[in-house]
Amino acid sequence: MTAAAAGTTARYTWGGDEFLFVEIDEAMSLAANFRANAMASLLDLDKIDGITDICPANASLLIRFDPDVLAPGELEERVRRIEETVARTAHPTLDTRVVEIPVWYNDPYTNETAARFRANHQRPEGTDLEFAAQENGLSSVDEFIKRHYGSPWLVSMVGFVAGLPFMFQIVPQEQQLEVPKYLSPRTDTPALTVGHGGCFACIYSVRGAGGYQMFGIAAAPIFDPAQSLPDFKEFMVFFRPGDIVKFRPVDEAEYRKIQDEVEAGTFRYRQAPVQFDLQRALEDPAGYNREILERLNGI
């Protein structure tokens, strides 16, 4: 069977003697991300000796292995078989969860940071949100913010630094919000900044350098090395690839209230399990998104 006939079209290449890189697609899409995650999950289930890291990304998969334990050729063969299995799946679904993330949009912290780095910006006057609204042909910052929290996002990759989620909005391509990154990266970004670069949203898990436009600040931690909050009891990183994120706008008063709960160690994210169905998301994104978000009702 040819690769095309089997629906296996990924590109396999080596990152030195310890990494196998599988490019599912050059372009970003829900389907490519779905395939990367499905391959990662199946590979993980196989518990193959010699694989040390399985890192699904937006439209690709990176696998680290120990070639003293697992020969490169054998690894490639095993992954190709998994690709075939995934390609044969007629109706791909993902058992995941939907999580509500409270965000203070247009907050003073990110606006102050943006003002300090204005020389690096495409639009030296104004704010990142004003630039983003303009880039997307929207009449106001409020309208842009509405589009940002209106439809949910899929966590398409976790990484860059510890626990940072990249998110892809579950809307048709023509409705994707696209904003270029800063012309040159900032040396500072507040922790929990909600950022945007290209078609991806992110939440900066820690303070540091960054090149994404800044739209607001999440109210609660997403990386908790001390594991002091209940949501971090099992692991210090909150997000997993495949999580579905619903941003909820909060004002300053609610932001402060959530901060108090974090301080007291009582804050918990609202979340509910969900089985994400790729076909339904592609066929009727608006209706399907409403259905997913209803899962959060009553929680």
Partner: protein, 326 residues
């Protein structure tokens, strides 16, 4: 027992062989940059290869031990002073309680290592004692050492299993710290995105390590490298060197905008939107870590078989340190 840090040095961190299995959430492997030198420090101190050591960058710390112990200093050439008297690197140094250890100016390379009998005994986080500074985990409170820190040292009855520790490292086995190096790389990943001339520039030029070099990565200066122009795919950035954000191989080389290649090292960011075009083979990662800014570097292409042969050679060199039993 503990080391009392009197002066911290420029960036002194606790490192071991690294933290694996968490790269999928952005937590890098970490671990000693120059793994072989760190392992030699452990061999001399009478440890196993797994114990944590102190990694010192450019300027070392000044510290005092509160018990009798054995240490060893390996890695980049530096004068070792015990109570003001000069002692040698690459050999076992016995210390008495109250002894003060300090270092001179680095004479080459970038990092040296202090191994101590029993190992640096900070808590294990996600399977490793290595410091991951960006995430504030591992090591001593997740950060480089500061003056006044009391750095815990493990039980000096030690885990070496009664093996007689090495007295010194055979001069023929010691790593060299040179101003010109050739680093073996495997072309791949997004190498098809360079023009033929671009790849030729990468592999035939002499690259100079810039001062922008740390545990995350090393940036080199040299000629501009040509990318193939293309209609960028949806979700990739606008520059021809951009891709849809993907996982980054440790050791991979990216060339943002065709200028100044960056090689990712042990504290690599785990992913991003720049195309990688080759990867330094595992056997040569230590060599990169030993480079000081200004080092003239060539990237020479090898295939998987050569990379695996080089890896086997490294392994047998390490086996000689530990004798038949290890």
């Amino acid at each position: 027992m503990a080391f009392e840090i009197l002066e911290p040095g420029l960036a002194t961190t606790v490192q071991d062989r690294g933290r694996f299995g968490y790269y999928n959430v952005g937590i890098p492997q970490g671990g000693a940059m120059d793994g072989l030198s760190a392992e030699m420090a452990n061999a001399l101190a009478g440890n196993t290869p797994a114990e944590a050591v102190l990694e010192c960058t450019y300027m070392g710390p000044r510290f005092r031990t509160d018990r009798d112990t054995v240490i060893a200093v390996t890695g980049a050439p530096v004068d070792v002073k015990v109570n003001g008297g000069t002692r040698g690197q690459w050999s076992r140094l016995e210390l008495a309680a109250g002894d003060e250890v300090a270092f001179g100016i680095l004479q080459g390379g970038t990092r040296f290592y202090i191994g101590v009998r029993g190992g640096i005994d900070v808590p294990v986080v996600l399977g490793s004692r290595s410091t991951y500074g960006l995430g504030s985990i591992g090591g001593f409170d997740g950060r480089p050492l500061r003056a006044g820190d009391l750095v815990p040292v493990g039980d000096s009855a030690g885990p070496s299993g009664g093996r007689e520790p090495l007295q010194e490292i055979d001069p023929g086995l010691r790593p060299r710290f040179e101003k010109e190096v050739t680093v073996r790389v495997m072309p791949g990943l997004y190498d098809h995105r360079l023009t033929a001339r671009g790849m030729e520039t990468l592999l035939n030029s002499i690259w100079t390590l810039t001062p922008v070099a740390d545990r995350t990565g090393l940036r080199y200066s040299g000629p501009e490298v040509e990318w193939q122009p293309r209609q960028q795919p949806f979700g990739a950035g606008s520059d021809p060197s951009n891709i849809v954000d993907a996982g980054y191989a440790v050791g991979s080389i990216q060339i943002p905008g065709g200028k100044e290649p960056i090689v990712l090292h042990r504290d690599a960011v785990s992913g991003g939107g720049y195309a990688m075009v080759a990867t330094v083979i595992s056997a040569d990662m230590d060599l990169l870590a030993r480079s000081a800014p200004g080092t003239k570097t060539r990237f020479t292409p090898v295939g998987m078989e050569e990379a695996l042969a080089a890896r086997a050679e490294q392994r047998s060199l390490r086996a000689r340190l530990w004798g038949a039993g290890a």
